[in-house]
């Protein structure tokens, strides 16, 4: 658990020498407690105090950066087990595997696609995050050539995968200054991997099949001076991955095993069902997800899933209220009313666009509530409808005076008619039935 300012003050040297940049030890202690100062800036701490303060004040999961520039992948610093408890902050990097046995042509096509292919959804640009270059050939010079070819063409974050430090070093000659993630050190070879990570200033993945094994290994790496770590729980099935990643997240945020406070690595290429593994990695605490190249449908679906899961759940997604034209309507086209809960809006819009029916959609401000809830709460009422008709220029946009209320708003239809003077029709409850309703009733 985090220490309070006074607890921290008690173990500081109390010299009040200001060398930490703060006027007193107490002021420094308060800054540490709120996470705004690093204990290491006091030069007079003994090793034990330094470790104690470090463990208690750093975020439960370390922030790790991979790559440089605008596309760099930043993961870690998560604080909860469930997104509804707060939010998930740093979306996982989706890293596409490129084996060094591929032809230069193949490498080029895939790398260029990852760098350039982008989807825009709800105002956000979505792309795959980077590449995971895997030494399949076994040869250091082949690996180096592949890394060089990728470096020449794109500036994406990279993971370099090999069990052999000399192979990784060959790759690092090409990209060592761009913070690639090295993968993966084990208990047998961590010293040579740590030497590489230190020499090039790179983050390092450690691999062990249990929480204890990972904790041991990260502790050893930290002693070797490498702190930017990522953990590969080396699960052989998605079930095992879920069990381990859940244990890790819990132990890290509750600080019961602070040594596993690092982002988790998930290599979907090792599982018999990579799609299930990829979805699971996104849902359940994967921070770096290695995947085979994804064609259109998979890419779009996984990027959308990642966007959904890493959206702040506290913030109701709302549409801007207003009058929206659908399928280029004319002045005679029907006028439909819906609420600004984006789920409702997009569902209604989907069916209307699908049926190619021209109409005007008046989105009224129910503060993001669905029709059912907004009616029950009295938010969707005749005053709101009247004001919205006026405010968004509905009277000018259409030549008729008929509006369609959502089915669930039936209880207010009489009052809306009275207050607005418009003829009110009650539409279906289910958006799927809208096209048929409009054809029959308004046709």
């Amino acid at each position: 658990m985090a220490l309070k300012a006074l607890d921290i003050y008690k173990i500081l040297p109390k010299k009040n020498c200001k060398e930490c940049g703060f006027p007193t030890c107490l002021a420094f202690a308060m800054k540490i407690a709120s996470g705004k100062a690093d204990p290491a800036t006091c030069p007079y701490l003994d090793e034990e105090t330094r470790q104690k303060l470090g463990a208690a004040t750093r975020p439960p999961i370390r922030l790790v950066r991979i790559g440089v520039g605008p596309r760099k992948v930043v993961v870690g610093e998560e604080t909860v087990l469930f997104r509804h408890d707060k939010t998930f902050y740093h979306p996982p990097g989706l890293m596409v595997e490129i084996p060094d046995t591929w032809s230069p042509g193949q490498v080029k096509v895939v790398a260029a696609q990852i760098e350039n292919e982008m989807f825009t959804r709800v105002g956000q640009d979505l792309f795959l995050s980077g590449v995971a270059i895997r030494n399949v050939s076994g040869a250091a010079d082949t690996f180096q050539k592949t890394v060089a070819a990728i470096e020449e063409m794109v500036s994406l974050p990279e993971i370099l995968i090999s069990d052999h430090p000399e192979v990784l070093e060959a790759g690092l000659i090409e990209c060592g200054t761009y913070r690639p993630l090295l993968c993966a050190a084990t208990d047998a070879n961590y010293t040579s991997f740590c030497r590489l990570a230190t020499k090039f200033g790179c983050p390092l993945t450690v691999r062990a099949g249990s929480v204890e094994g990972l904790a041991n290994l990260t502790t050893k790496c930290v002693q070797e001076g490498v702190e930017d770590l990522v953990m590969d729980p080396a699960a052989t099935t998605p079930r095992e991955f879920l069990a381990l990643s859940t244990q890790i997240r819990k132990a890290a945020i509750e600080r019961t095993v602070p040594a596993v406070g690092y982002p988790v690595y998930c290599d979907t290429t090792t599982y018999p069902d990579p799609d299930a593994a990829c979805a699971l990695g996104v849902l359940k605490y994967g921070s770096l997800i290695v995947t085979r190249p994804l064609e259109y449908s998979r890419k779009l679906a996984f990027l959308t899933l990642r966007q959904n899961i890493y959206t702040d759940p506290q913030k109701p997604i709302q549409m801007a209220p207003g009058l929206y034209p659908v399928n280029s309507p004319g002045r005679e086209s029907p006028l439909l009313i819906t609420v600004n809960f984006s789920l409702t809006y997009f569902t209604v819009l989907g069916y209307l666009e699908g049926a190619k029916i021209p109409c005007h959609l008046l989105v009224v401000d129910t503060e993001g509530l669905s029709v059912l809830t907004a009616v029950a709460a009295g938010k969707l009422n005749e005053t709101l409808v009247r004001e919205s008709l006026k405010k968004f220029g509905a009277e000018e946009a259409v030549s008729h005076r008929t509006l369609v209320l959502p089915g669930y708003a039936a209880p207010i239809s009489g009052r809306v008619e009275e207050m607005t003077g418009w003829k009110v029709m009650v539409g279906p409850r289910d958006a799927a039935d809208l096209p048929e309703f409009l054809e029959k009733e308004m046709g």
């Binding site: 469930f82 809830t373 409850r429």
Partner: protein, 304 residues
């Protein structure tokens, strides 16, 4: 993780000995932990959704499934024999038509589906309060003894469906609009009018991936953790159907050659994630999604 609560078990389907005609029956519930963790190795069940009037059904699914979609009985048969569904969910979309009155047709359809498949049945009745009572009692009666699951009860219209379920021994689906408190209230209401807890399945409403799915995912996690912490009014199994998946823009406007695949991936991601969040029954419409989910669940449940 250790918890104090346990999810109620709900039985769906009845064999001959139990007074029905189902060749397979299923039980959902019983979880004492979050999905797929220790002590929760049950496979989620997959229901294939079919309907009796395909007017509003996704053309992608109709094209893939073929001619049987003109006959709900044949469609149900194929769902079992060819696609390997665990359950069939019949949407009586014919009742959604304006001026609907063909209640006899509804009975015939249900009888045909019961003939066509030996799988347990979920029956989705009308969506229109003025015909609810007639339609639901026809559904309940036509499937009497089969221990089906009837849908859908909502806060402002649950009486007809619950009455039919109580009268003919079926379970009900209780749907609330992505809200844990409303889900709980509805369960209490249903309980008060005579539905035992072990005949209620919660439908927290599932938005399509990219269209509010994140709310549904989290409300399922919240309902499940509340139940495991001991809230018995939420300790029912959950059902999830991201029914709008195939109507959203990304799927409809996908390039022709990848449209099928996009439809499958969209349904897959929502259904798979719903199961990870706690849903015991997931519903899909594309037969290939069903196949893909089976594989994914088997690996997660440790059976592959």
């Amino acid at each position: 993780m250790t918890w104090s609560g346990e999810i109620d078990r709900v039985h769906i389907g009845a064999t001959k000995q139990e007074g029905g005609t189902r060749s397979r029956v299923c039980t959902v519930g019983g979880a004492k932990n979050l999905p797929f963790l220790e002590g929760a190795s049950e496979m989620p069940l997959i229901a294939l959704e079919i309907c009796d009037d395909t007017g509003s059904w996704s053309p992608i699914v109709l094209a893939y499934t073929g001619d049987v979609t003109r006959d709900a009985g044949e469609w149900a048969k194929k769902a079992e024999k060819e696609f390997g569904a665990d359950l069939v969910r019949l949407h009586l979309t014919s009742t959604r038509k304006r001026g609907f009155s063909d209640v006899r047709g509804v009975r015939t359809t249900i009888e045909a589906v019961l003939q066509g498949t030996g799988l347990p049945l979920i029956i989705e009745g009308s969506n229109e309060p003025s015909v609810d009572s007639e339609v639901f009692s026809a559904c309940g009666e036509a499937a009497a003894g089969e221990r089906a699951l009837l849908g859908t009860a909502e806060a402002d219209r649950y009486r007809s469906v619950a009455a039919a379920a109580v009268a003919f021994g079926h379970g009900v689906i209780a749907q609330s609009p992505i809200d844990i408190n409303l889900a709980k209230q509805l369960n209490i209401l249903l309980h008060e009018i005579g539905m035992p807890h072990d005949r209620i399945v919660i439908d927290p409403f599932t938005g399509a991936l990219g269209y509010g799915f994140e709310y549904s995912y989290s409300v399922m996690e919240r309902i499940r953790t509340a139940a495991l912490k001991g809230d018995t009014d939420l300790a029912m199994p959950m059902i999830s159907a991201a029914a709008d998946s195939l109507n959203i823009k990304e799927v409809r406007e996908a390039p022709q050659e990848v449209r099928d695949e996009t439809a499958v991936m969209w349904e897959f991601c929502a259904a798979f994630s719903a199961a990870v969040a706690g849903a015991e029954i997931v519903c899909v419409r594309h037969p290939r999604t069903l196949e893909k989910l089976k594989k994914g669940f088997a690996h997660l449940a440790g059976e592959g």
